[in-house]
């Protein structure tokens, strides 16, 4: 099955999935309303978006130099910086670190980069006991699923689904325990994951930003799981991508002001942690080693392209929360690590256009994503560019021919008008005496779901030309009448 055919099948399944639809129905009241409130409370929110955009653009324009500065300062602070060109390289680097540490248990906080390179699966294949500590990621892990949202990985699940999977997964607990509230389930997860935190040998986190001036990483969570992940084991691995670097802390704060407000509607995330290197000589806690793995995986190529603005993304998820397509089908149907508008814009660059360029088709270009993006990524323009690249592919031959034929027509007004007239009359004829067409084989994609209004008859251009002719006749009549009056009254 082609990626596009799979997409169609997944769309149908998602639309027919009643529990998923109920879960998606809550997005507007949650994230969307939350962002609206947060925006209203910060009068400078809109100008702040432009500041955010400029900071990201500046950092990306000098990415090589900032990465160099970051590496230098991180190394000075005692971190070890690793460069990974591909996902495979990054996985190998992390595997080697874990093996060298003699690790058995590995805790992980949420990292979309790790999803991108399927790190957990790779570590599990190598017989490590890996556990996701972000509650949503943990739920996704124990249900053998993928995240369906970049900040709320389990947004597709309902509380009942969680209770069910907890009963199955946590078989050692009393079978008759109550799991009827989120509080009870969270308390249970807390207990299970606490043991993992304390047992972990290696903790893997992502990073929201890297700060060049000090070689620091900034990591935000609401649960505090990243802090337990990084501070309890003897080795801390920060896995992130090269686009996350900003020059200074002063550049990070505006982005952090935007991030939580755009994501959940909080003014600030509960835990924002700046981490600079491993445990220092007098520290009683913290890891002995700090490794930073910087992944490229297609990003430098994207940086060199016209679509580089996609790399501004700070992964807030606002574009998907506000996307009518995402809110109709959820994240899984995209079959892409990054779903929604940012997924359509980013995934073809990371996963290859053959795998993901069709995602850019799944947009009405309504532009709501651009309107809420905290760094003003022109998502619609980027999707349009992917469409443009896809159109040049051999498999788009039919679409290309049809577009070209239509465009030819649109460049010849006289023929266009004639064809429009025929089309209007034909549709009218098909509608018969009715005002709508209920079924039209060559437009079944339309008429399967809705009626097609019958056209009124002749085109506007035809009717206007008739009116013009009548007017001209009347004007001529007026003129001759006036002449006649003039000659009558002449002496």
């Amino acid at each position: 099955m082609t990626a596009r055919a799979q997409f169609d099948a997944d769309i149908d399944a998602a639309l027919a999935d009643a529990p998923l639809q109920r879960a998606l129905a809550d997005v507007p009241a949650g994230f969307v309303a939350g962002r609206r409130r947060a925006r209203e409370e910060l009068p400078e929110f809109e100008p702040l978006r432009r500041v955010g955009r400029d900071i990201r653009d500046h950092a990306l324009a000098h990415l090589d130099l900032y990465l160099e500065a970051f590496e230098g300062n991180a190394t000075k602070a005692g971190s070890r910086v690793h460069w990974a060109a591909s996902g495979d390289d990054a996985c190998r680097i992390v595997l080697d670190i874990c093996r060298a540490a003699g690790a058995r248990t590995i805790t992980k906080s949420k990292s979309m980069v790790s999803e991108e390179i399927e790190l957990r699966e790779r570590l599990q294949d190598a017989e490590f006991d890996v556990v996701e500590t972000d509650l949503g990621e943990y739920l996704v892990q124990i249900r053998n699923e993928k995240p369906s949202h970049i900040i709320a990985p389990a947004i597709h699940m309902r509380a009942e689904d969680v209770a069910n999977v907890f009963r199955r997964q946590h078989g050692h607990l009393a079978a008759d325990r109550q799991l009827d509230t989120p509080e009870k389930m969270i308390a249970e997860a807390r207990g299970i994951l606490r043991d993992k935190f304390l047992a972990a040998d290696v903790g893997i986190t992502g990073a929201n930003f890297l700060v060049a001036e000090t070689g620091s990483a900034i990591i935000v969570t609401n649960e505090g799981n990243a802090d337990l992940t990084m501070s309890l084991p003897k080795v801390h691995v920060i896995l992130t991508s090269i686009d996350k670097v900003v020059p200074t802390f002063n550049d990070a704060w505006p982005l952090l002001r935007l991030l939580a407000r755009s994501a959940t509607g909080q003014a600030f995330t509960a835990y924002t942690t700046i981490v600079t290197g491993p445990r220092q000589p007098t520290d009683p806690d913290g890891p002995e080693q700090c490794h930073i793995v910087l992944l490229d995986n297609g990003r430098t190529e994207l940086l060199a392209s016209e679509m580089r603005s996609v790399l501004r993304c700070i992964r807030c998820g606002a574009c998907m929360n506000h996307c009518p397509v995402y809110c109709s089908i959820g994240g899984h149907a995209y079959n892409s690590v990054y779903p929604g508008p940012i997924g359509a814009a980013l995934s073809p660059a990371l996963a290859g256009a053959g795998q993901a360029a069709h995602l850019a088709e799944a947009s009405t270009f309504c532009g709501r994503c651009e309107q809420v993006c905290p760094v003003e990524i022109p998502l619609v323009s980027v999707m349009r560019q992917w469409r443009s690249l896809a159109l040049e592919q051999p498999r788009s031959r039919r679409a290309r021919l049809m577009l070209h034929a239509w465009a030819r027509l649109a460049q010849h007004p006289r023929i266009y008008r004639w064809c429009a007239g025929i089309a209007a009359r034909s549709l009218k004829w098909l509608a018969g005496s009715g005002a709508r067409i209920r079924r039209l084989p060559f437009l079944h994609a339309w008429t399967d779901y809705r009626d097609l209004a019958a056209p009124q008859g002749g085109t506007f251009q035809q009717q206007w030309a008739q009116r013009d002719r009548k007017r001209a006749q009347r004007d001529r009549a007026d003129v001759s009448a006036a002449r006649a009056r003039k000659s009558d009254s002449a002496p």
Binding site: A154, E223, P247, N250, D251, T276, D283
Partner: protein, 217 residues
């Protein structure tokens, strides 16, 4: 097209002299000379309230242990002997508090252990913008105190409340003598999650409860 050397200079300059991107007008509203300390403290307290954090205000340093003990007695279950154990680091300010003036608290020092119920730390700064506490890691205030125990009590001097994260970072560097600690922890309310059924629940992994002992001389 700028040359490589010019780019390198621009980058070095940006790092050496960071831009102050944001004047935070919404916090320094209508006060040309900057907002008064009192207004900042007011905003900080209001933000803490919205986050669901508890606020314990005391008028002097000497009152801190008793206020803390009262809070613990009222909110945290103590053990059979009627003692509540708190854990703190070797922070000189905290160590110098008159702990002997109060009963009911048993004080342990060092980093947090799995069984600890209450962690006590001292914050370097408070950020009025969002009610954020700013802590630094190290032996004085081990970072685990803020994450393993179910209750985290943070002692903060009202005078250390600043408007923004930018200023708080300056406070951190002043306190550490310009050295970056392993972690700077910005804590804004208690641990929370919305991952089950979209409902926000406190105490996902870290503290269920955060209390701030705000003291002013």
């Amino acid at each position: 097209m700028p040359s490589e050397a010019t780019c390198a200079e621009a980058v070095a300059e940006r790092i050496a002299h960071p831009l102050q991107h944001w004047p935070l007008r919404s916090i320094r509203a209508d006060e040309p000379a900057g907002v008064s300390k009192q207004a900042l403290i007011g905003r900080f307290k209001a933000q803490l309230g919205r986050l669901g954090a508890d606020l314990i205000e005391v008028g002097s340093v000497a009152e801190i242990p008793a206020a803390l003990a009262n809070y613990v007695a009222a909110n945290v279950a103590d053990d059979a002997a009627g003692l509540a154990r708190i854990r703190m680091g070797s922070d000189a300010f905290l160590a110098a508090l008159p702990w002997s003036s109060t009963s009911g608290l048993e004080i342990a020092t060092g980093k947090a252990e799995a069984a600890d119920v209450i962690g006590v730390s001292r914050a370097i700064a408070g950020v009025a913008e969002t009610g954020t506490l700013v802590l630094v890691s190290g032996a004085d205030n081990p970072v685990t105190l803020g994450y393993l125990p179910e209750t985290h009590i943070v002692v903060l001097e009202a005078g250390a409340i600043v408007a923004s994260y930018e200023e708080a970072m300056q406070s951190v560097l002043v306190a550490t003598g310009g050295r970056m600690p392993r972690t700077v922890n910005l804590i804004t309310g208690a641990s929370r999650t919305g991952d089950i059924g979209g409902k926000i629940v406190m105490g996902a992994h870290g503290p269920r409860r955060v209390a701030v002992v705000l003291w002013a001389a």
